[in-house]
Symmetry: C2
Subunit: 336 residues, 2 copies
């Protein structure tokens, strides 16, 4: 690998001068400029990122921790983040928390040691003190996406989960359903809680009593959703509709329907939170409340980059993106 000093030697100038022409600041004569540029080109010079980072105390790396990169929703976020980062010459190091606080803590520590310039993550909800001491208090900006950790003074990019869930459930109510099951997911994360809250709010607004036996509070996994959906759908009388609070839960729900030989919207109506390509590619395309995940990633990255270039005030900022209902073909009148 060729270094700046190689270039300087080759161009017959000092390292200082070479540095000046390549960084484009300070006075340099036209003559030297040309010779340095030529030499750099000929030697195929590329600045050493590590050395530069060390000197400038800026790594141009941002950390991204998502719950599960295999989840379409998070991979969309990752895409949004990486593309904005690239446009601005930043690198993104990716880590999975697997929805596990211990693992999240470890990943965060590694990223702190790496001296990332900023952190974007979908919090599990824990590790607040660590985040404060390793990032916030050292002035390293942190952006929370999708979820938030209580009391953490950091920017957040969220969806209106309560409103979105409410919309979804209203679509069901509007079709005449009153016994509506919900796969709410883990109540330890803000999204799970908020979506269940939206569900309750929609019911309340229509004066329908909340029925604990209709809610599944399992993990955000297909298997857990499958089991919960079974439990909910095997009750008599069977609920006539089901709301799945995210795309993974929707997969579990869909699988349960197949196993129970139920087809939407004939036998049961179903609405999901989060959109995914397969939902519109099936025989009876799923009605969903879509949140712009890739956009969320882009917004998060933009917010972070703004912070890094000194923009924005000191106050943590929260951006709320509005989910929107996409009506397809999984909602009909209640059976019988």
């Amino acid at each position: 690998m060729t270094t700046l000093s190689d270039v300087a030697k080759h161009a017959g100038v000092s390292v200082s001068t070479a540095s000046r022409v390549l960084s484009g600041q300070g006075y340099v004569s036209q003559a030297s400029r040309i010779r340095v540029v030529d030499a750099a080109e000929m030697l195929n010079y590329a600045p050493n990122h590590m050395a530069r980072s060390l000197r400038l105390n800026r790594t141009h790396i941002i950390g991204l921790v998502v719950a599960d990169i295999e989840n379409f929703f998070y991979s969309q976020i990752a895409k949004g983040v990486t593309s904005v980062a690239r446009e601005h010459g930043y690198h993104v190091v990716l880590a999975n928390s697997e929805e596990n606080r211990k693992l999240e803590s470890q990943q965060i520590q590694m990223l702190a040691n790496l001296r990332v310039d900023g952190l974007i993550f979908t919090p599990t909800g824990g590790n607040r003190r660590q985040l404060e001491s390793s990032f916030i208090s050292s002035g390293i900006p942190v952006i929370q996406v999708d979820r938030r950790v209580r009391g953490l003074p950091a920017d957040a990019v969220l969806a209106d989960n309560v409103g979105g869930a409410q919309q979804a459930v209203e679509a069901l109510l509007d079709a005449g359903h009153t016994r509506i099951g919900i796969l709410a997911g883990s109540q330890l994360v803000t999204t799970g809680k908020a979506r269940l809250a939206g569900y309750r709010r929609a019911l309340e607004a229509r004066g329908i009593a909340f029925d604990e036996s209709l809610v599944g509070r399992g993990l955000f996994t297909r298997d857990s959703a499958l089991k919960d959906a079974h439990d909910i759908l095997c009750q008599r009388p069977r609920p006539t509709a089901l709301f799945a609070a995210n795309n993974i839960l929707a997969e579990g729900a869909a699988r349960a329907l197949v196993e129970l030989r139920l087809v939407a919207p004939k036998d049961i109506s179903i609405v999901a939170f989060d959109d995914a390509p397969w939902m519109s590619a099936i025989a009876h395309p799923l009605t969903t409340v879509d949140q712009p995940a890739r956009e969320a990633g882009r917004v998060a990255a933009t917010l972070l980059l703004d912070r890094l270039s000194g923009g924005q005030g000191a106050e943590p900022q929260t951006v709320v993106l509005s989910p929107r209902l996409i009506s397809r073909n999984s909602v009909g009148p209640p059976r019988r």
Copy 2:
């Protein structure tokens, strides 16, 4: 941020000694060891990754470039790579090539400048010279996953695409189909070519003539697949079966079936390459040829790490993973 010299000062020893105890090599007295460890703990010391990298000429960062992180297949690879990396204390910087050679070239250049210790990527097929000059010739190991670039002397982790496609098509042939359409995807990448080859081979083995009008050679996108599927399925007589050469193409195909009001396996039989969770969560679960993508990521990362610790010979190695047929419920006898 506290530095090693802070720790040393606090412990009343020299930087050298502090370094020795923390890196665990060289002679250190029990007394100094304890004092340094205590000081480090108290000051919450974490070594500066950049300084260390600069000195050691080892970044402990590996680059990962995938075609599209939103594609479930690639996100599985990413998960495999990141988890192995984490287990060994490596960081992964993620980039998307978007199936675009220009973009891939840019990303690769950025990673080279970052001085990653190694590169794992799903090649578009181009940029061979750049890869050779920026990585191979500097001794930076490169692992190709899923695809390969012709003539690049680098390790590769591949699926048996010809065999897998052949298996898929045979499942269709075994059910009695003779007019089988294929969404083959871009013929510019090795997977696209190989899967088409497997298709042809399966037909030949049964003495069935290859019919150009039954093959779609569009891009690896849903929209392109949708269009190609339409073209193929609107022919008279209509082909009785369809093979989609990857999971995205399968989504496009599924959408086309919905639009044409065709349901598998009654009206048409369908088999896909690559598995995805939704495929088993639909009314008529898709029969697929599954390739172990996460495993491929793990293998690639392991191979890379081996190379980094000086293992393996100089010869580039190729690992071939076997896809396996998962029979579900999208294949039946030909209609009429």
